[in-house]
Symmetry: C2
């Protein structure tokens, strides 16, 4: 990572901490409470403290880094991009909080998900609170980057949120309909929406807007960002299958446990013999139980062992609770074996490399006319920072 | 309702329908899909269609009516306020979708809640999608009402969302800590945040901003709006206890089933004999089970009747699933009897009337200098529309 990006993550976290502290101070009625009318801080423990939970966990800070790096490379300075970069990090973490509820995920960045630790109600509200806090810094941008760029950044955030929920909706619709006959292009359309827009395209666009740069440059950079996002996401899916739990900060092979549509898995299903595919789809049709039911399967087994529950009653309860739907470790292993037999990880790596090459070409086209030695950085330095933030993983 | 407000609800719904239709058209890649690459509309069934579900159900349209009425009374026209009023309705419905998930509510406006019908994942995402769509019309406001008012409306929306999640957090914190020793003032602070800001204060402020009116007038109107919101909310709580299910569009006595902190219930607990209070608090400590577990209690009872499940096993399962926590109809009746014995509904009605009187006084102070016969309406007509939208219920 180039020198001018070092420490940017710490700066971003500091901005978020100050944003939330300011919010606590601004909240009307706080003076009544210090006079003892209401005990303690009624929002802190279930709102403002929790907004910082995910952002303070170990993370790469990819989105703010891309925004800041783009701004610097195009002649802007760190101060111009910092609030916008921090808002991107806040959006990212808000999306994660809600996604974890939606995906029933147990682990995030090496710790329990917010809803696993505090319940769904608090997690949904904390996510909404984080989204609410994105607006003020973007309005304050007017003084920092000028009215035109500030308004275009607000529009960019609108577009980003719209695309993100569309990507999430595509995936939820496939889950709901148990759809597995999907091409690489279907997958790419979904992940570009679900994560590409908010992780790559909009951070890049916002960085360029903070530097008040030419819309044409923005356009070319967005092609670069789109391809980089595809390469990144495919590699993320590969890592989930071949990496250890420490490395990925989530459940190992969590994507198979959760039955996620990944380029890897979709390739395995497309190329498998019909009988193998049908067996895999039957395994994948099973849904993930609610986090709150995690201990119930073993309880049912024990009650049956102790003669307190008849086998037929257990089966009926498992159906009613959606537990018959749980994938077993053996079934997850079977999916992994199919993936290996079909060479699907190699296929995914090839596709990732293709998109990385396309990204490189777009970057070269975009940066040819925009070297900015005056700032002490250049598009060359910027591209290095992009690879180090994202591309090296492929 | 005065003539100039008639039909405003239909106009607001039409704006929301067009906003969502435009969003579908704008979504990139739609042209690929019509060429058959992806089957059908991948977002419609789980995103855009569902965004209109709550807004199209029978509702009063209180928030947009307040915004439009305020704008008209202060000399603005319907067209100036319509987009902002529609965004307020969109926010309101997005909050309802997420609140219903958080409160585990089964019924909303006479139909199943969104998460009861489509699952939590889709409901959380639809709420996020509705929030995402609020931003563009507010940016387009710049051309309609001018830059200054448009930016102040955006700030108002930020403040509104912040206060709303704080109110929700206060309530969730009380639930989490099983706190019941709360004064009328505690309750009022919570409900003003949770619903007063987005239902009364900000719709009024936005209406005044759409009419480009004096900030001083705004300030006085906000005192009016705050008191009206308290009166309205207390009356809503009373209706929940004494009205039929048809009238309130939710579960009858749903607040008692859900164990909600209402001014009525808190008064009953504060004034009851210690033994009665302890019994009531024990009933209220029980939590509401997940919607997905609705059929499980009767299944457990049947399995025990059939000799498939031992009584001890049933008790253990009920604890593990949080079903031992379910309130019974007899327990809800006991709470209602306590409320009646303590005269708590009369107390609540008195408090509601006090706030209504305070609202009336603030309104008179605010409207003395601002009669605007030129528009064919006046603050008198406006106050009538406010009462007919909200105040008459008290």
């Amino acid at each position: 990572m180039p020198a001018y990006l070092e420490g940017s993550r710490a700066r971003v976290v500091a901005v978020l901490e100050e944003l939330i502290a300011e919010q606590r101070r601004r909240s009307p009625g706080i003076e009544d409470r210090t006079e003892g009318r209401l005990e303690g801080d009624p929002y802190g423990p279930v709102l403002y403290d929790l907004m910082l939970d995910y952002p303070l966990r170990e993370a790469k800070g990819l989105r703010p880094a891309l925004c800041i790096a783009t701004c610097r490379a195009l002649g802007g300075n760190l101060e111009a991009a910092l609030p916008t970069a921090s808002v991107l990090e806040l959006y990212h973490n808000a999306f994660l909080v809600h996604d974890d509820v939606e995906d029933r995920s147990h682990v995030r960045r090496g710790g329990p998900t917010l809803h696993a630790a505090h319940g769904q109600a608090i997690a949904v509200n904390v996510g909404d609170g984080m989204l609410a806090l994105t607006l003020r810094p973007l309005l304050a941008n007017i003084e920092r980057v000028g009215l035109g760029p500030a308004l275009r950044i607000l529009e960019a955030m609108a577009e980003m949120s719209e695309r993100t929920v569309e990507g999430q909706a595509m995936e939820l619709d496939w889950i709901r309909r148990n759809t597995w006959e999907l091409s690489d292009d279907d997958y790419i359309e979904m992940v570009v929406r679900k994560t590409g827009w908010y992780s790559f395209i909009i951070p890049t666009r916002c960085g360029a807007l903070c530097a008040r740069s030419d819309p044409k440059v923005c356009e070319q950079l967005e092609r670069f960002a789109r391809d980089l996002s595809v390469a990144f996401q495919i590699q993320d899916d590969v890592l989930n299958l071949v990496g250890g739990a420490d490395e990925i900060g989530k459940d190992a092979r969590g994507d198979l446990w959760e039955g996620k549509r990944t380029l890897v898995l979709l390739h395995a299903l497309r190329t498998a013999a019909p009988a193998d595919r049908d067996r895999a789809v039957a395994i994948l049709a099973k849904s993930v139980p609610e986090v709150s039911l995690a201990g119930v399967p073993s309880l049912l087994a024990r009650l049956e062992d102790q003669g307190q529950l008849a086998p037929a009653g257990r089966a009926e309860l498992e159906r009613a609770l959606g537990l018959a739907e749980l994938r077993s470790a053996a079934e997850v292993d079977a999916l992994m074996e199919l993936i290996e037999a079909q060479g699907s990880i190699d296929h995914a790596r090839r596709r990732a490399r293709e998109h990385l090459e396309a990204a490189r070409a777009s970057l070269e086209a975009a940066t040819r006319p925009c070297s900015t030695p005056a700032t002490g950085t250049s598009c060359g330095a910027w591209s290095i920072s992009c690879w180090s933030a994202a591309g090296d993983r492929v």
